[in-house]
């Protein structure tokens, strides 16, 4: 089975590899794993007060397709709102990377990872602390 050029590009030059501070309230962490291949994926997002993803990092142990799927996803979610990022479908990832049927689960993993990261951010009440302080004169000045 041959990997597509896009998979090889992401595999050889993965974007946004790294880690963020899990304890930071503005950071959401998603960890997922695929039993079929033993792949493990960690995806983290940094969300600003406006609910927009400012940065994304990943660390993936797995095959080329799993690494490419998470690398591509970090590129896609930057600049998106949580709602937009949460509606990314695995089929879009699989299509962009031209994944063969046996590697579709890698894109499923990436979709689950961003959803888990968003859930984690929301569960932590991400950004809530900041909203208590008035951002500017407009809020509450009815």
């Amino acid at each position: 089975m041959a990997y597509s050029d896009k998979v090889i590009d992401h595999y050889e030059n993965p974007r946004n590899v790294g880690s963020m501070d899990k304890g930071d309230r503005s950071v959401g962490t998603g960890m997922v794993g695929a039993p079929a291949c033993g792949d493990v994926m960690k995806l983290q997002i940094r969300v600003n007060d406006a609910g927009v993803i400012e940065d994304a990092k990943f660390k993936t142990y797995g095959c080329g397709s799993a690494i490419a799927s998470s690398s591509l996803l970090t590129e896609w979610v930057k600049g998106k709102t949580l709602e937009e990022a949460g509606s990314i479908k695995n089929t879009e990832i699989a299509e962009e990377l031209a994944l063969p049927p046996v590697k579709i689960h890698c894109s499923v993993l990436a979709e689950d990872a961003i959803k888990a990261a968003i859930d984690d951010y929301r569960k932590k009440g991400g950004g809530a602390a900041e909203t208590i302080a008035p951002v500017d004169g407009e809020t509450g000045a009815a």
């Binding site: 960890m31 039993p35 079929a36 291949c37 493990v40 660390k59 142990y61 689960h105 499923v108």
Partner: protein, 189 residues
């Protein structure tokens, strides 16, 4: 009618792997009894015994021998035996879709993989890899025990969760073994 003929004609191809080899349908298995049952069935179905039998008997024997081989391969492997038991109880394990999200377990997976990576950079890499392998082996064994407990208690949901975790450890063991082999080759002149 020869002995062999009768053996074949009495072979019920709808039996499950445990029934086929005459073993109790549970997770704990006696390795000696398993290989003995396997050898017994293999010789009972050996083609030589059916050299002069009819076409149908010969075909049945070949089919039966293939099933016996498959049954042996599944039952002798702890992970496959566990998954097969769940299957017999109507619990499907969809490894493509059942993605695991237990953060603690996944963090452990990440750490074990990082430990393997670090071991490769160790001044004495082979010994370092062996330590990680022993750790992986012990955790794998504990999961198999947890599966047995859950399964014997009839908690199939918990048993399935263990089976999914076991898959990760099987994969991890393969990778650790491959790494150890690679390191051993590297040391060759």
């Amino acid at each position: 009618m020869t002995e062999g003929d009768r053996a074949t004609l009495e072979l019920d191809l709808k039996q499950n792997h445990f029934e086929l080899l005459g073993l109790p349908q549970r997770f704990r298995i006696d390795p000696g009894a398993l290989s003995q049952a396997y050898r017994h069935m293999q010789s009972a179905l050996h083609p030589d015994r059916f050299a002069r039998a009819g076409d149908q008997a010969r075909r049945l024997a070949v089919q039966g021998a293939a099933q016996v081989n498959e049954a042996y391969a599944v039952l002798r492997d702890d992970g496959r035996r566990a998954r097969y038991l769940l299957e017999l109880h109507g619990v499907a394990v969809d490894e493509e879709r059942d993605t695991a999200q237990d953060p603690e377990f996944l963090m452990e997976q990440m750490e074990l993989r990082e430990a393997l990576e670090a071991a490769e950079q160790d001044p004495r890499p082979l010994e370092a890899v062996e330590r990680v392998r022993a750790d992986i082996g012990a955790r794998h064994k504990a999961l198999l025990q947890a599966f047995e407990q859950a399964f014997e208690a009839g908690d199939l949901a918990a048993a399935k969760a263990e089976v999914l975790k076991i898959r990760f450890f099987e994969r991890l063991r393969q990778e650790a073994t491959a790494l150890a082999e690679r390191l051993e080759d590297r040391d060759l002149p």
